[in-house]
Symmetry: C2
Subunit: 242 residues, 2 copies
DNA sequence: TCCTGTTTTCGCCTATCAATCGAAAACGTG
DNA sequence: CACGTTTTCGATTGATAGGCGAAAACAGGA
């Protein structure tokens, strides 16, 4: 179908495809994104998302996992999904690079070692970012917040076991506004996302009743049931969706 | 950041980026996809999605609109959104072509002229498809059906004005299962998606009460309200989401 | 030991909403 | 003018989200 690479226009000198990942985690109550500070021009000193060139023998999912492994322990990344393509002709200067952006989620109890130039930056107070990476972070935020309401994606932000209070803090941090613990527990339980482990967590230094521990029933993405009107008769639950 | 195009591996002879669109429409009660029959190898005779090479001076959205315009009247396409990247190394033979796939939606009353090699194929009985285009159609179906339940995306499948019965037929065709007209009307009205125009439609040949005409209140994508638990206090509605 | 402060859990109440059913309205046909 | 057809509307039932407050379970200090 297609021929060879189209001729470069204007001042383009390089062509290619890269992958980029906005890896999010709730740390001390704030939603943060993994970023590294560029040491060379262009955009020296600015903060960039992890990523790099797509190789010829891998698809974009393999590529983003390979490149993420250079910054964090991949086993700490609980969920990865494609956000979309960023392809404005001059999104990086002096080159024609199309980027596939990803959303990655890390449970709040994970603390992977990161390189010296890499840090968790708060999404509501991002330092100056490189290229169009701020727009990618925005898309990641929108996607996460939307999916928190109609999928079980919270499993990727929460530890394997947690108290309702801890989960409330995670949701509040991710959504950026206060969340009712009582209602959160009831809604997620009713949706079949949450189940008690049976164990309890010891109370904090200030005392208080020991909190029951919960876990997510599934640790793979699943969208919440739609209304019966729009659902094939007799079915419950649905497959994975972007 | 990136250098030049990485060396081609194996038997790859061409590199590039293409866009592809799965354009869906409900015709005579069935969901169909716009496809054209390839006249040349590879995959000669098989049915392919509209699309083509990404140019150097356009982003993928501009590109898909440009290429779609070669097959149908663009003004009939009520909604276009990105599905994702298809990038398996050998998804097309003897070349390394990464594809950005799109979902397009055409209202059921539109009947755009199409080229001779192009036709609306039923998605539940697709003829043999070229390359990985069947997988793209599957993704488009999943995306559409999921969004019908938590967004107002139905506006892009429905005419400007319609009866509840006509809307029921559209939803049933798109979802692939029967839908209750009464419940559909009530649910969509309650969500603020539907409003009566005041006019009525003349009854069919068999008589019957004239049906009231309705329209969608918004003709841009909007996700349905989440539960108050997960919503910033006082807000209603939310922004656009993939 | 008892009291106080803290944190979590549970139950109750209310309002809202989905789903279903059935009756009535509005039309064409014989 | 009666009958079949199609749509619309109202009433009822059942389920669930949201909010509030009481009770349970713990630590620490008097």
């Amino acid at each position: 179908m297609p021929g060879t690479t189209p001729p470069l226009g204007g001042r383009h000198v390089a062509t290619g495809h890269e992958v980029l990942a906005a890896v999010l985690q709730v740390r001390d109550g704030r939603l943060r994104v993994l970023a590294w500070q560029r040491g060379i021009a262009p955009d020296e000193g600015r903060w960039a998302l992890p990523g790099g060139h797509l190789r010829d023998d891998e698809d974009v999912e393999e590529s983003v996992r390979r490149q993420l492994a250079e910054k964090v322990d991949l086993s700490d990344v609980a969920h990865v999904e494609q956000l979309g393509v960023f392809s404005a002709p001059h999104r990086v200067p002096d080159a024609r690079i199309v980027a596939t952006a990803f959303l990655g989620l890390v449970p709040s109890d994970a603390d992977p070692a990161v390189p010296d130039d890499t840090a968790w930056q708060p999404v509501d107070a991002l330092p100056p970012t490189a290229f169009d990476h701020a727009a990618i972070v925005d898309d990641a935020l929108d996607r996460l917040r939307a999916k928190l309401s109609y999928t079980n994606i919270g499993f990727a932000l929460a530890p394997a076991e947690f108290t309702v209070s801890a989960l409330r803090e995670i949701y509040a941090g991710a959504l950026g506004h206060p969340v009712s613990a009582t209602n959160l527990q009831r809604v997620l339980t009713r949706r079949g996302q949450l189940e008690p482990t049976g164990a309890v967590s010891p109370p904090g230094p200030a005392g208080g009743r020991p909190a029951a521990l919960f876990r997510f029933t599934r640790r793979t993405l699943r969208v919440t049931d739609a209304f019966a009107v729009l659902r094939p008769p007799g079915e419950v639950g649905r497959a994975v969706v972007p």
